[in-house]
């Protein structure tokens, strides 16, 4: 694998992802509106939910709007990852995935490039949301917007790798409703995105345990801490470990020799 060759491939993949994303105006629009709806309507009803306790990394009492913003940023990454994995299933059905994977570069590299491209394309919207959230008085320190970048990239990669795994298992686009019901919603709701652990523990210890083990929680906390200039080591390790595991599993899934693909008759 020559470097310039590899970079050209990455560039091509990135360009394709970008074009595709920019052409889906409706998707862009809804990706931006979704967290804002949560912030204006959902958060408004819960304003005083957190008035009772200080949860790190916050050093004082915060309104619910402030608490929920990192979770909503992670939600944007999650939905983006799932939309991207849906696109991959589509690519498989249309045959362009085969085209990509037959390029004279290692399979892992091509999939990693696809993953990275998808995350990079998704980030500007997350930043736009974080800046718009300032109008809701969610004002983390300015340097927090810099510190949150690696956290967003890592979380995006982890969720993207998860989407890659899902796309390697899921055979048809019709299955995607099932993915929404059984993957995205539980992952989002049973996490620290909407409520801190202590609040979930009040609802039920099982839910709190699930949330604590949910890798999406780690992504949320990594983003939350970074946004307030703190470094959550445990969350970072969990996110990195999950990234590696999901990516390796997706590798297996996409391997025509060994993976689920071959068992299904290698329709790609």
């Amino acid at each position: 694998m020559k470097t310039h060759h590899a970079l050209r491939a990455l560039h091509g993949i990135l360009q394709r992802e970008m074009l595709r994303t920019l052409r889906q105006r409706a998707r862009l629009f809804s990706a931006m509106v979704r967290p804002l709806v949560w912030l204006t309507i959902f958060a408004a009803g819960f304003r005083s939910v957190l008035g009772l306790s200080i949860t790190p990394p916050y050093q004082t009492y915060v309104l619910y709007e402030v608490y929920v913003v990192p979770g909503l940023a992670a939600m944007m990454l999650l939905f983006h990852a799932m939309a991207s994995s849906l696109a991959m299933v589509y690519d498989r059905e249309m045959g362009s995935m085969r085209l990509l994977l037959t390029a004279p570069l290692p399979r892992w590299y091509l999939l990693a490039a696809r993953l990275l491209a998808s995350v990079i394309v998704g980030l500007p919207l997350v930043y736009l949301f974080l800046f718009v959230a300032r109008f809701w008085d969610v004002r983390p320190p300015i340097l927090g917007y810099v510190a949150v970048f690696p956290a967003l990239v890592l979380s995006g990669l982890m969720l993207g790798a998860f989407g890659l795994l899902v796309s390697s298992i899921s055979t048809q686009m019709e299955n995607f409703a099932g993915v929404m019901n059984f993957v995205i919603f539980p992952m989002f709701f049973a996490s620290t995105a909407l409520y801190p652990i202590w609040r979930l523990a009040e609802a039920g210890p099982v839910l709190a345990t699930i949330a604590a083990w949910n890798p999406f929680s780690s992504a949320v906390e990594l983003i939350r801490f970074a946004l307030y200039l703190r470094f959550d080591v445990v969350s970072m390790l969990v996110v990195v470990a999950c990234l590696v595991v999901f990516f390796l599993a997706a590798m297996v899934g996409y391997d025509p020799g060994r993976g689920l693909w071959s068992r299904r008759g290698g329709e790609g």
């Binding site: 304003r47 005083s48 008035g51 009772l52 200080i54 050093q59 004082t60 009492y61 915060v62 309104l63 004002r139 320190p141 340097l143 510190a147 690696p150 200039l229 703190r230 470094f231």
Partner: protein, 319 residues
């Protein structure tokens, strides 16, 4: 990454660093907490008498007076040694008091005796009393030292006392359960808060006519939950800060328009507030959550809430 963050944090801290010490009376712990203003950390706790509430610095800022409601006295803390070094009589159940600008006398509200006691600091003696309404609570002295204002919670009045003759000049009716009184720095206005009605009434100090009233509202909190208690005014007289008790908020009020500019979310049930010497920082003592909240007025945000003990009641900022 960690190094970078540590560097950034230390820069931020250095920027807001101020050589101030914050003193907080813990009503239920019988202590005064000592907090370092630069690092915003608890440094010390000083044991005092029972139920410490009102506090004030001496004019030379070397001594802190602490009213001990259940011990019927005022303790004097030497701030250099951080020790109680003397006691003053105060009359029964002192809740709140002020140091007269002459530096020689304290005016103390005696909650149970319906009196204002005048204490001579040097002689350690009560040198006079003034009869006021039922349950005197808040007390303030005009910047020129001529007038002392005392609120009485049950009578719902503010009583104006001539500081020289100790005669009552006037009684003004206030909304239910008045708490704190504060003169504007130019001495032209008198502000009085009403706990039950959640209002602050503004009077012209010279004519004693009501010139305005602020009705506090906090979105999402029912009216009964918004109660006005402690008041502090900025040195330039442009802003007043009012603690809203169970609403867990501090209101920033424009003293010209009487509009509430901003509400800061602090700990539970803030009683009293204090402004730093540079007027850039506001600190609230939050009675129910046992902490104090630091508000950065330049960036208009609450920076930190620090646990200090049980039942923080009043806060004083010293050198």
């Amino acid at each position: 990454m960690q190094v970078l963050i540590a560097l950034v944090l230390s820069m931020l801290m250095a920027r807001s660093a101020s050589a101030e010490t914050i003193y907080v009376s813990n009503e239920q712990d019988n202590t005064v907490a000592v907090v370092d203003g630069a690092t915003m950390t608890l440094q010390d706790t000083i044991e005092v008498g029972r139920r410490p509430r009102g506090m004030a610095l001496s004019i030379d800022k070397k001594t802190l007076f602490v009213a001990e409601g259940d011990d019927n006295r005022i303790d004097m803390i030497d701030l250099a040694r951080r020790q109680v070094v003397g006691r003053l009589p105060s009359g029964a159940d002192p809740e709140f008091f002020v140091v007269h600008p002459d530096g020689k006398r304290l005016f103390v509200a005696n909650e149970n005796d319906n009196l204002v006691s005048v204490v001579d600091i040097a002689a350690a003696k009560v040198v006079g009393t003034v009869d006021v309404g039922v349950e005197p609570e808040g007390i303030a002295v005009s910047p020129d030292g001529r007038t002392v204002a005392c609120t009485s919670e049950t009578t719902s009045m503010v009583h104006l006392i001539d500081a020289a003759t100790l005669e009552l000049i006037d009684n003004l009716l206030i909304d239910t359960r008045p708490r704190a009184a504060a003169f504007s720095p130019d001495g032209k206005q008198l502000w009085v808060s009403s706990e039950i009605r959640g209002t602050a009434t503004v009077f012209d100090a010279a004519t004693r006519a009501q010139t305005g009233k602020i009705e506090f509202e906090v979105p999402g909190i029912r009216r009964e939950g918004v109660q006005a208690v402690g008041i502090v005014m900025s040195r330039d007289g442009a802003n007043a800060y009012v603690a809203l008790g169970p609403a867990n908020r501090i209101a920033e009020v424009d003293t010209k328009t009487l509009a509430v500019r901003r509400l800061y979310l602090v700990g539970q049930r803030p009683w009293h507030v204090a402004l730093s010497d540079d007027q850039k920082r506001l600190i609230s003592a939050n009675g129910n959550s046992g902490d104090i909240s630091f508000i950065d007025l330049e960036n208009q945000e609450v920076v930190k809430s620090l646990p200090v003990g049980r039942g923080p009641w009043s806060v004083v900022i010293g050198p």
